[in-house]
């Protein structure tokens, strides 16, 4: 009988060359942090995707409960005034 233990899952975040922030790229298996970093390098940056890597074991991420989506996100649906679209921007102001 197989007693194979699966390695834990890690989430990988990459900052691209011109990017300002790390973005979630995907996940992988690794036995520990060092292996997770090497695996992330090998699996996710082989096509020059980035210049900085973060890895974090998935169990450390606190996720919202999908069943609570109603109370979590629905109340924002009809609050268009929370978008700053009602201001007239001066022409001098670019990139907004």
């Amino acid at each position: 009988m197989s007693t194979k233990k699966e390695w834990p899952i890690w989430e990988v975040f990459i900052r691209s060359k011109n990017g300002l922030e790390h973005r979630h790229a995907g996940s992988l298996h690794a036995a520990d942090a060092e292996m997770a970093m090497e695996n992330a390098r090998d699996v996710y940056t082989r096509r020059q995707e980035g210049v900085s890597l973060w890895v974090v074991e998935s169990k450390h991420i606190v996720a919202s409960n999908p069943e609570a989506n109603g109370e979590m996100f629905a109340p924002a649906e009809d609050k268009v005034y929370r978008h700053p679209t009602f201001y007239e921007l001066p022409i001098e102001l670019k990139h907004m």
Binding site: M35, E38, N39, D42, V43
Partner: protein
């Protein structure tokens, strides 16, 4: 002189060519997705180095020579790689151990070749050294994991180590060509590398909880074109397309 330089470049490139091929056999067969990709990446790195070497060699050879003709149309006796790199994959322990024993040699060699008086070799070494440095990190890390892992992983990697150890001295067999290239400042100094090699390798093996083998025989002469039976099978697969469909293109 040009012929000798040509031969020397082949002796550098052939190790990467044959080891690159061995690793490419694992593409899609690695023990996990992550290690599969890692080993394939290393294979591609080595092939990239081979292309640089063989493009240079083809320029020196002139006439109809090309990187492809050098890679695909030489016989086994014309290959100058060491025996270690042509040995079969067997299991993950063997793959990692073979890689570790090679990387531990390749890294100090690349360091030396960065200072080569031959500008092209120096440029190739400077490009390769970042890759080799990562390969060494990867294989050393895995040697430690397997050696200090479970009883089974320790036994398997120790078996691989015992199997491969008689081959490592061949790296330091100084052929007349190696000697001449060292003396004219183009090639590496194998005696100096040997010292670094065994110091580093022994340190890591002990750290990994492995026993340093004491082989009672030592392989030689791959660099002179004498090879194990495995090389013929590698070349049969590697050269099949060019042999069957001469001059076919990508």
């Amino acid at each position: 002189m040009e012929n000798k330089l040509y031969d020397y470049i082949l002796s550098l490139g052939d190790n990467s060519l044959i080891l690159g091929h061995r690793l490419s056999e694992l593409c899609g067969h690695g023990p996990s997705l992550e290690t599969d990709i890692a080993l394939t990446n290393i294979s591609l790195d080595l092939y990239g180095q081979v292309r640089n070497y063989f493009q240079y060699a083809a320029e020196l050879a002139g006439e109809d020579a090309s990187e492809d003709s050098i890679a695909f149309l030489r016989t086994d006796r014309q290959h100058k790689n060491v025996w270690l790199v042509e040995q079969p994959n067997e299991d993950f322990g063997h793959v990692i151990c073979r890689q570790f024993l090679f990387d531990s040699f390749h890294m100090p060699l690349m360091k030396q070749l960065c200072e080569s008086k031959d500008e092209r070799i120096s440029a190739i070494a400077k490009k390769s050294i970042k890759e080799s440095s990562y390969h060494e990190r990867f294989s050393s890390e895995w040697m430690k994991r397997l050696g200090a892992g479970t009883d089974v992983s320790n036994q398997k990697v120790q078996a691989a180590l015992d199997h491969f150890y008689p081959f490592v001295n061949e790296f330091f067999q100084e052929t007349p060509l190696d000697k001449e290239m060292k003396e004219n400042g183009i090639g590496g100094d194998l005696t100096a590398i040997k010292e670094v090699y065994f110091k580093n390798v022994h340190t890591l093996l002990l750290e990994a909880g492995l026993t340093i083998p004491e082989p009672n025989w030592r392989q030689t002469d791959g660099k002179l074109g004498y090879h194990s039976e495995h090389l013929g099978f590698i070349l049969a697969e590697l050269q099949y397309m060019q042999r069957s469909y001469p001059n076919s293109d990508w």
